[in-house]
């Protein structure tokens, strides 16, 4: 019969219309500014820089390796390396970005910077209400505007963030274990000739146990140049996740470790290393 098809369609429309009053499934819109849908955990918008601790400038994980700048498809990241160094999360002195700008009017949220970053320093933010009336300066974010705390990262991507934390802790433990082994070896050597080192120890407190080998006068200069890598984490705080495997081999060297004056300074490896001059 002519008109059958139209009637069939109208029945469908009526079902949808009536259904929208009873079924949540058919009522799909929300009244946006008042009502918001929760973002999925994987949501991404523009990148941000993660920092540890409270001070964004000190805790920035980025070491200005410029890999993201190079790999960024639309080339919206601008990095300038610093002249000096600051310790990273394992206490190793690293260059930091003196300038780190992202032009989010160019950025296309592809997440490639996050993928290629070897330091877990850049992650994707989920903020999306970024409208501004200044389309040039307002959308060129500098490193201060880009930096967000690790807690914030945990807030927006909980699963991913805890994975990253676990990975970083593991790496840190590895570095510390290595440094400890090196320190022990050095300490063992130093112990072989303790007489030479003894006058120098009060002068060069933090680096003494490891750097005991070179002539005492040179020690201060050596420390200033900041090869903190070996010294800073020499006496690590055992991390909760990784246990204190280091202690077993150490027991043999306990007495030597005890006689070194390094211990009191090493409480917090990160806070300790200030290699600037």
């Amino acid at each position: 019969m002519l008109g059958d098809g139209i009637l069939k369609g109208l029945v469908e429309t009526a079902r949808n219309f009536a259904g929208s009053y009873v079924s949540k499934e058919r009522m799909t819109t929300v009244e946006y500014p008042e009502e918001r849908l929760p973002l999925p955990e994987a949501a991404r918008n523009f990148p941000f820089l993660v920092y540890d601790g409270d001070d964004w400038e000190k805790g920035l994980r980025c070491v200005a390796c410029q890999i993201c700048e190079k790999e960024c498809p639309p080339k919206c990241i601008y990095i300038e390396k610093s002249k000096d160094k600051k310790p990273d999360y394992v206490g190793k002195p690293q260059i930091y970005p003196a300038k780190f700008d992202i032009d989010i009017s160019v950025c296309m949220s592809c997440q490639i910077c996050v993928e290629v970053c070897p330091f877990e320093a850049i992650k994707m933010n989920t903020e999306f209400e970024l409208a501004t009336d200044d389309r040039f300066a307002g959308l060129l974010l500098d490193r201060k505007q880009l930096s967000r705390s690790n807690e914030y990262y945990h807030q927006i991507h909980p699963t991913e963030a805890s994975e990253v934390d676990a990975r970083l802790a593991e790496e840190k433990a590895k570095v510390e274990a290595k440094a400890k082994a090196a320190a022990e070896a050095a300490a063992a050597k130093a112990a072989a000739a303790p007489a030479v080192g003894s006058p120098a120890t009060p002068a060069a407190k933090p680096a003494a146990p490891v750097e005991a080998k070179p002539a005492p006068a040179a020690i201060a200069a050596e420390v200033a140049k900041a090869p903190v890598a070996a010294t800073a984490p020499a006496a690590p705080k055992p991390l909760p996740g990784t246990g204190s495997d280091g202690t077993a081999p150490m027991s043999a060297e306990d007495k030597k470790a005890a006689e070194t004056p390094a211990k009191p300074d090493e409480g917090e490896p990160k806070a300790q290393g200030e290699p600037k001059e």
Binding site: L2, G3, D4, G5, I6, K8, G9, V11, E12, T13, N16, R26, T28, P40, E41, A42, A43, R44, I67, E71, C72, P73, M108, S109, C110, Q111, I112, E115, V116, M124
Partner: protein
Amino acid sequence: MSASSIKTEKLAGWNRPPVIESDGEGELLEVAMGPHHPSTHGVFRMDVVLDGERVIKLKPVFGYLHRNHEQLGERQSYLASMPYTDRLDYFCSLTNNWAYALAVEKLVGQAVPERAEYLRVILAELTRIQNHASTIGFLLQEMGASGTPLMYAFREREKILDLFESLTGSRMMCNYMRFGGCRVDASPAWIEATRKVVSGLNSFVDEFENFLMTNEILMARCQGIGVLKPDLAVNAGISGPMLRATGVNYDIRKVDHYGIYDRFKFRVPLGDHGDIYDRYMVRMLEMRESISILNQALKDVPAGPVMDPKAKIRNFRPKAGESYGRIEAPKGELGFYLISDGSPNPYRYRVRPPSLINLTVLEDMCLGSNVADVVLIFGSVDIVLGEVDR
């Protein structure tokens, strides 16, 4: 068959455009439809010569959305082109990703883990469903069914886009596939959510079919309009639902068995007349087949890695060579042709966009029909200007 006969045969197919004479009464009117025309799905112009209501000449003009896609691909590393492929056909970013990944994987001989293959099939079929649903929605919208069918289609599409977002982080610009797998793994919760959405899709297609398939007005406007002959379609290189609507059985999923499509049972819907209605119906039936593929794929997604551990993300330098990777994208055959000279960026990067090539027969389909039908015929081609202009 001698060379000359091949030539004439080819010419027979290409005997175009069929000249339509004006009836000699009144003047001819030249109209530029577009570039900003609501029915053009973007910025596209049709220079139409009209005799009264009849179209006697039509010239498609495109390039308004040209973004240098291929040149960008040649200037950048292989990985950096991946997010740009999202922006080709922005309705189906995941199939674009797959085609490009396939081309690069062919170039370097990269294997893809089993789980990643399954995820790719699932995502590609979801993409196909949402693309076809919204295409049909737009087509009906242009026909005058203003809003309602499009909104029904978008309601369903939104569910699929939510899945994309929760897996890949973005609704449309997914940037998900990598050379040798996929970027992130799908959680069991995601697979469960996908199963739930897929189980609801059948009733959506039912509803959509009841809604307008037998509608008399729709049939009057679609049947016998914009007919494309199979020989012209083959000669012009048409692919996808447009080709199958003419009755040519050619589906790259069946022909190439790329990925793991040989493991799934599905049929290839074929049309008979090659008119708008057939194109509409082929898409409708393809959604059904996609649902059946999804059901098979979701039944047993194997465990394992989603990324080949040997695959490289950075410092990716394929050996010198060339490759062509193609897939059955929702709009037709999407291919990427790459030539590598051993440097980190391709020497040549070429896209075979189904939208553009399907558009080449627009004039042949439109000649002799009314202006109002031109909009419909154009809508039934299913193009995205991002892919046409690149």
